[in-house]
C-alpha cells in the first residue's frame, strides 16, 4: 500500500511537469493529425525525458525497483506509433543499462517492450478506424495496464531464481499496475484537453477570418478611399476585438476606429516612424508591447502600447497600411497578428482585382472612342460633297442639312456618359439619316416604328447609330434598287427590343464573326444589365439582316 502511495506521489510530480508542458508552445505540434518528422523528434525527446526521469526517481523495493519509466514509452508508442514507442523505450532502457549494467537487464527488456506495446495499441486503434481514441485516457490506461502486466511477466520469466522473482512481483505488481495506468490516463486527459482547446481556437480563428473576408467583399470595388477604408476598419475592429484599427494609404490616415480616436484623426499625415518604415521597406512591423513598445507619435498620453503594422500590397507595391493596436494594459494576441496579416493580403488581392476591372473598363471605353472616331471622315466628306451640290439648286435644304450635320457631330463628340435615352439616340440617328437620305435619294427608304413608351429607356450611349449606319451601308451597297431600313422599338412584359433591319441580307457571315463591331455593344449591355440581355442578330441571305438590342423593361404601373 505504501508503495502505491509512493508511486502516486512520484507520479504527481510528473503530472505537474506534464501540465506545464501541455501549456507550452512546444506541445502544439503534437496535436496534429499527421505528425511531421520534426514533431516526432520532439515527441521522442520529451517522452524519453519522462522515462529517464522515472528511472532516476525509482523506488527500491527489496533489492529491485518499482518505477514509472514505462509510462513515457507507452504514451510515446500510443501517440507516435510502434517505431517511436520502441525508440523511447529502447533509449530509456539503454540509459538504464549504462547506469546499472547486467543486473538491470530485466528492466531494460521490459521498458523497451512497453514502448513497443504502446505502439501496437496505436496501430490497433488506427486499424479500427478510431484515430480519435489515441488521445483517450481510457486507451492510455489500458495500454499502460497491459504494458505493466507484460513487464511483470518478463520479470517472472527472466529473473532467477523464480521464487525471488515471484516475491518481487507479488510486492510491485499491484502498485505498478494500478498507479502507472492512472498516471498515464491523467497525463493523456491533460493532453486531450489542451488539444481540444487548440481546435476550438483554430475554429474561432477560421470563423473570424471568414467573417472578415465575407463582410469586406466588394467594399473595395468602389475604390480605396476614406469611405471604403472606414467600412473596412469597422469590420476589422468588430471581428478582431483589438483596441484600435487604422487604415492608411501611403501618406495619410484614411480611417481610424477605437482607443485614441481623439487624436488619430483620418486625414492626418502618417507620422509614426514604424508605419513609415513599414511603407518604405514593404515589411510587416510588429511592436508586441513586451520586447518592443509602440510609442504614439502624435500624443504622449496615448494609451496604445502595441501595434501590428502590415503594408497593403498590390502586385508588391505598397499602396497603404493596415494597423491593429492594443492599449498598454492588454496583450497583443498572436491570433490577431496572424489575422491582421491575412486581412492585408486579402484586401491586396481585392485591390488587384479592382485594378484589373478598371483597366478592362478603360479598354472598352477606348475601343469605343476608336469606333466613334472611325465613322467620321468618310461620312463627313460625302455629306459635305452632297451639300455643296445641293446648295446650287436648293439653298434652304442645304442649310437644313448643315444643321443636321452639326447636330450629328456635336452628339458624336460630346457624349461621354455611359447611358443615354432612346430619344437622344434616335435624335442622333435621325440627323445621320437625314443626311444619308439626301445623299442617296430614292435609293434609301427609312421606316420608323417606335413605341413612345420606350423613348426614355436607357441604352448604352452610341449604340444605335453604328447599327443603323451598318444597315444603310449594306442596304445601299448591295442593292441596285432601294434599300429599306426599318427601325423599331417595342416591348414584351419584361424586355424591350430595339431593332434595326435592312432588306439586303448580306454580310451574314460577318455578323457572326463580328466584322461589324457589334461585340463591343453586346459586351456593354451585358456588363450593364446581365447576360440574358445583349445583341441578337438574324440574317437571311439576300433578304434581311436584323440586329436587335435586347434590354430589360419594367412595365410601369397603370395610372
Amino acid at each position: 500500500m505504501d508503495l502505491t502511495i509512493s508511486l502516486l506521489r512520484q507520479l504527481s510530480v510528473f503530472l505537474v511537469i506534464a501540465y506545464l508542458f501541455s501549456k507550452s508552445p512546444a506541445f502544439k505540434p503534437l496535436t496534429e493529425k499527421n505528425l511531421q518528422p520534426k514533431s516526432k523528434l520532439l515527441l521522442f525527446a520529451i517522452f524519453t525525458g519522462f522515462s529517464v526521469l522515472g528511472i532516476y526517481t525509482e523506488l527500491p523495493v527489496e533489492g529491485a525497483i518499482a518505477n514509472t519509466g514505462a509510462i513515457g514509452a507507452v504514451l510515446a508508442g500510443l501517440i507516435g506509433g510502434p517505431v517511436l514507442g520502441s525508440a523511447v523505450g529502447g533509449t530509456a532502457a539503454l540509459h538504464l543499462f549504462i547506469l546499472k549494467g547486467n543486473s538491470a537487464l530485466v528492466y531494460v527488456v521490459s521498458t523497451g517492450v512497453a514502448g513497443l506495446f504502446g505502439g501496437l495499441a496505436n496501430i490497433y486503434l488506427l486499424r479500427q478506424n478510431k484515430p480519435d481514441q489515441v488521445f483517450s485516457p481510457k486507451a492510455a490506461f489500458l495500454a499502460t495496464f497491459g504494458a505493466e502486466a507484460l513487464q511483470m511477466l518478463i520479470i517472472l520469466m527472466m529473473k532467477n531464481p523464480f521464487s525471488e522473482a515471484w516475491a518481487l512481483v507479488k510486492v510491485i505488481a499491484l502498485p505498478m499496475m494500478i498507479a502507472n495506468p492512472i498516471g498515464s490516463a491523467l497525463f493523456m486527459s491533460m493532453m486531450r484537453d489542451q488539444k481540444s482547446m487548440f481546435d476550438k481556437v483554430g475554429a474561432l480563428f477560421s470563423a473570424k477570418a471568414f467573417n472578415i473576408a465575407d463582410r469586406s467583399l466588394g467594399i473595395l470595388s468602389k475604390g480605396f478611399n476614406a469611405e471604403s477604408a472606414k467600412q473596412l476598419a469597422e469590420i476589422i475592429y468588430d471581428e478582431t476585438g483589438v483596441g484600435a484599427v487604422s487604415i492608411s494609404d501611403g501618406k495619410k490616415i484614411l480611417a481610424y476606429i477605437g482607443i485614441g480616436d481623439d487624436h488619430h484623426l483620418p486625414g492626418l499625415d502618417i507620422v509614426s516612424p514604424q508605419t513609415l518604415e513599414a511603407v518604405r521597406d514593404n515589411k510587416v512591423i510588429f511592436a508586441d508591447g513586451v520586447h518592443e513598445h509602440f510609442q504614439c507619435a502624435i500624443s504622449d498620453s496615448c494609451q496604445l502600447g502595441s501595434a501590428l503594422i502590415v503594408p497593403l500590397r498590390v502586385e508588391n507595391e505598397v499602396v497603404g497600411t493596415i494597423k491593429l493596436y492594443e492599449p498598454k494594459n492588454k496583450l497583443f494576441l498572436n491570433l490577431n497578428k496572424t489575422l491582421g496579416e491575412g486581412i492585408a493580403k486579402l484586401l491586396g488581392e481585392q485591390l488587384l482585382r479592382d485594378r484589373y476591372r478598371t483597366q478592362r473598363n478603360l479598354l472598352v471605353k477606348s475601343e469605343l472612342k476608336l469606333i466613334q472616331a472611325q465613322v467620321n471622315p468618310h461620312f463627313l466628306f460625302n455629306a459635305l460633297n452632297t451639300i455643296i451640290a445641293i446648295v446650287r439648286n436648293d439653298p434652304e435644304q442645304a442649310r437644313s442639312l448643315l444643321r443636321h450635320l452639326s447636330n450629328f457631330f456635336r452628339k458624336n463628340l460630346k457624349r461621354s456618359g455611359d447611358l443615354s435615352s432612346l430619344e437622344e439616340e434616335l435624335d442622333h440617328v435621325n440627323s445621320y439619316l437625314v443626311i444619308e437620305r439626301a445623299r442617296f435619294g430614292d435609293r434609301l427608304q427609312v421606316i420608323e416604328e417606335i413605341d413612345p413608351e420606350l423613348l426614355q429607356i436607357k441604352i448604352p450611349t452610341f449604340t444605335l447609330q453604328p447599327i443603323v449606319e451598318n444597315a444603310v451601308k449594306h442596304g445601299i451597297s448591295n442593292l441596285l434598287d432601294a434599300g429599306v431600313i426599318k427601325i423599331s422599338a417595342g416591348h414584351s412584359r419584361d424586355r424591350a427590343i430595339i431593332a434595326v433591319e435592312d432588306n439586303a441580307g448580306c454580310f451574314c457571315d460577318k455578323l457572326d464573326g463580328d466584322g461589324l463591331g457589334m461585340n463591343i455593344v453586346d459586351k456593354r449591355i451585358k456588363n450593364l444589365y446581365g447576360n440574358q440581355y445583349g445583341i441578337q442578330t438574324e440574317c437571311v441571305p439576300d433578304q434581311v439582316t436584323r440586329v436587335a438590342l435586347v434590354l430589360p423593361f419594367e412595365e410601369r404601373e397603370s395610372k
Binding site: P377, H378, F381, N382, L384, N385, T386, I388, A389, I390, R392, A438, R439, F440, G441, R443, I476, S477, N478, L479, L480, D481, D542
Partner: protein, 236 residues
Amino acid sequence: MIRVMIVDDEQHARDELASLLNEVAQVDIVASCANALEAVKLINKLHPEVLFLDIQMPVIDGFELLSLLDQEVMPQVVFVTAYDQYALKAFEEKTLDYLLKPIDPERLKKTMAKIEAAIDTGEEPHYQTPELTRIPCASGHKIKLIDPKQVEYIHSDLSGVHVFTAEGNFFTELTLKVLEKQIGLLRCHKQYLINLAHVAEIITLENGLAEIVTLSNHKLPVSRRYLRSLKEAFHL
C-alpha cells in the same frame, strides 16, 4: 472637246462633278451612271476618252470595274473619292490622277490639263487591275455575282452575253473577250467560251468541226479555228 463619262452612285455627286467640269473645261459629258454594270455597258457602247470613277460603289467598286473593261475601250481614268484612304492604292494602280470630294475646282483644272496632255501623246492607258473572282450579272434589280468555277459555258448572241450555270443562265455586260482573258475560260467558237472542267465529251465532226457535250448535256459547237487549242488544252 474631250468625251467624258462620270460613274458615281450618288446623284448629287454626279451633278456637282458635271457642273464643275463644265465650269473649268471644254468637255462633252457623254454619260453618267450610278453603278459598275451600267458603266461597263455605256463604256462599251460610247467609248469615252476619260472616266471619272468613284471608288466606293455598291457591289462592284471602282477598282473592280476596271477589270471588267476590254483594253480596247479602256479610257483614261481619274478616281474620285471622299476620303483619301484609297489614294495610295490608286497611285499604285497608276491611274492618271485622283480627286478628293468635295472637289476643288482649281484642282480639277490641273487634272484636266493632265488629261489633255495624256490624250495628246496618244498613249494608251494601261492599268493593273485586280483579278476577276466573280462575274457580275444582272438579275432583276440586283447584281448577281457568279463564281467562275460555277460557270459551264458562256454564249454571246445578238441580245448580249449569257452566262450558263447549273442555277440557270444570266445576262452580263462583260464582253467575251474580257471574260476569256480574265477568268480563264477557253474559246471554242466565236460565240462560245467553255469551262474545261465541265466538258464531258468532244465529238469530232467532218470538215474539221467538232462538238462539245457538257456534263449537263448541253451541246456547244467547236469551230475549226479553235479546235486545235481545245485539243491542246486536253493534251490530245
